[in-house]
Amino acid sequence: MKKLKKTLIYLFLSIATIISIYPFFWMIVSMTNKSVDVTQGRQLPGTYLFENLRKLFDQVDMVTALTNSAIIAILSTVFTLFIASLAGYGFQMYRSKGKDIVFNILLLSMMIPFASIMIPLYRLFGRISQTAPIIGIDTLAAAFLPTITTAFFIFFFRQNTKMFPKDLIEAGRIDGLSEIGIFFRIFVPTMKTTYAAAAIIAFMNSWNNFLWPLVVLQSPSKQTIPLLISNLGSSYSPDYGMIMSAITIATLPTALVFFFMQKHFVAGMMGSVKG
């Protein structure tokens, strides 16, 4: 009876594993096959990898999309880490009744569905376009500006600041550091793992973001990776080998981050619930 149960559990887990991993397997195998082989259900690696990659970089503006996505994701991450950690630290270290109220109001923004603010945001950037076109509609700046800080990350940094030893701050004050100096010289270097976890999540969010770039970026030269894949995916006669190469390349950064920084990855995910 016990043995049967064990066997069933392993069987169940094995099936779940196959279902979880198969799409990745198929993606990578298809990347090395001719489109026609993919449609015929070929499950073995082929020899078309370089051909597919060559087509991808020749026929589609993959380099531009990769560059755009990287610029947007890096700037979004840098700004979020800086602005949200300042706020999380401020709300926790200089706690006051007023700040607690403001903090709770900011948290409410987590409940706002993006679909309900995308049109006003689009209009806002439309107006910005008239005075400052370099950060208006159809610019990379417009794609990351709304993500420079979010309530989630402020909350995340505030939770983590709770574990930061106050003695270090006092020591900094005695050493004559200014308040902002304490933040940069003491807080930031000690909280490296917190920043690493936040960076992973912020980068992933931005790298995978679809709806806002779809709304605000219009010209092909501003396309990001998700927009490019979505376009390729909706073509009537898809070149499977080529599209799978694009998808694999798009998945690579987040997959690598996951495998090499699994601990930080999970810490970032959990940041929203602990404490």
Binding site: I83, L86, G90, Y94, A115, I117, R123, L211, S230, M270
Partner: protein, 290 residues
């Protein structure tokens, strides 16, 4: 005392940029959307039309379909995923299980994919000559391929399966970490009292995990109400509008059909209202059992 107020003011400087940015990029747009919901017109030429948009909500067949679809996804997908994730987490929490780390990583792996990327993969896997049809044909489960993507029923099934594939492992990680905080001696005691594993699950695990189950249910609900990437990339709302989500409808109203920002903003408030109502219900339901 003077130094204290001074510090208080410095504190405000720390939070200033965030307060300004969130007000500008979240609260102001919410307010603008509210004003927009009383306006109508094309593109930027808007005029106030009173409650016209709001009364139009009541007689909009596309909106009704979008609501039915979104609720279908919600009611089937969220419970399915939460139960599966709980199940995996309990199994994988057993320290005697071999290859625990491997299974955990494998089941979590879908969570690293981008929504667009996995949607396109699912669309191809379920296409008429796709791998799923080939498998079912070879196993003789079906005699001719199923048009998964262009059939109103199967298209919804594919979307639900896709979302479940992507998010089950993600939610499982939350439960696993919560399970690690449960004292093993509680289970020991229950076993001595003669409780079997199912009874232990219902009487110990579920109550202990209640806060985290509530958290994941609310985030999943909010996520499903905002569903966009999957529907657009798997079925583009089709066949017809049979799988369209509310978010996609808002997008279509604003950027695909003749732009009608006023009505689109009104529809967007439907999502806001649903998010608020469902979150309150979930809090109430979870609170009552206490």
């Amino acid at each position: 005392m003077k130094q204290l107020t001074n510090k208080n003011n410095i504190g405000w400087l720390f939070v200033l940029i965030s307060v300004v940015a969130i007000t500008l990029f979240y609260f102001y747009p919410m307010f603008d959307a509210f004003l927009l919901s009383f306006q109508s017109g094309m593109g930027a030429n808007l005029e106030y039309v009173g409650l016209n948009n709001w009364s139009r909500l009541l007689n909009d067949p596309t909106l009704r379909q979008a609501l039915i679809n979104t609720m279908t996804y919600l009611i089937i997908q969220v419970p399915l995923m939460i139960v599966l994730a709980l199940f995996f987490s309990v199994i994988l929490n057993d320290p005697d299980l071999k290859f625990r780390g491997f299974f955990r990583t494998a089941i979590f792996l879908p969570a690293v994919t981008s929504l667009v990327a996995y949607s396109v993969i699912f669309k191809y896997m379920f296409s008429i000559d796709g791998i799923v049809n080939q498998l079912l044909l070879n196993l003789n489960f079906i005699s001719e391929p199923i048009a998964f993507i262009s059939d109103p029923f199967w298209a919804k099934v594919v979307i639900i399966l896709a979302i479940t594939w992507r998010w089950t492992g993600y939610n499982m990680i939350f439960y696993l970490s919560a399970l690690q905080n449960i004292d093993r001696s509680i289970y020991e005691a229950a076993r001595i009292d003669g409780a079997n594993s199912f009874q232990q699950f219902i009487q110990i695990t579920i109550p202990m995990l209640k806060p985290i189950i509530l958290f994941t249910t609310i985030t999943s609900t909010i996520g499903t109400l905002q569903l966009f990437d999957e529907v657009v990339n798997i079925t583009s709302g089709g066949p017809g509008i049979q799988t369209i989500s509310i978010s996609q409808y808002i997008y279509d109203l604003s950027f695909k059909y003749t732009p009608n920002f006023g009505y689109a903003a009104t529809v967007s408030y439907v999502i806001v209202i649903l998010v608020v109502i469902l979150s309150i219900i979930q809090f109430k339901v979870a609170g009552e059992k206490e």
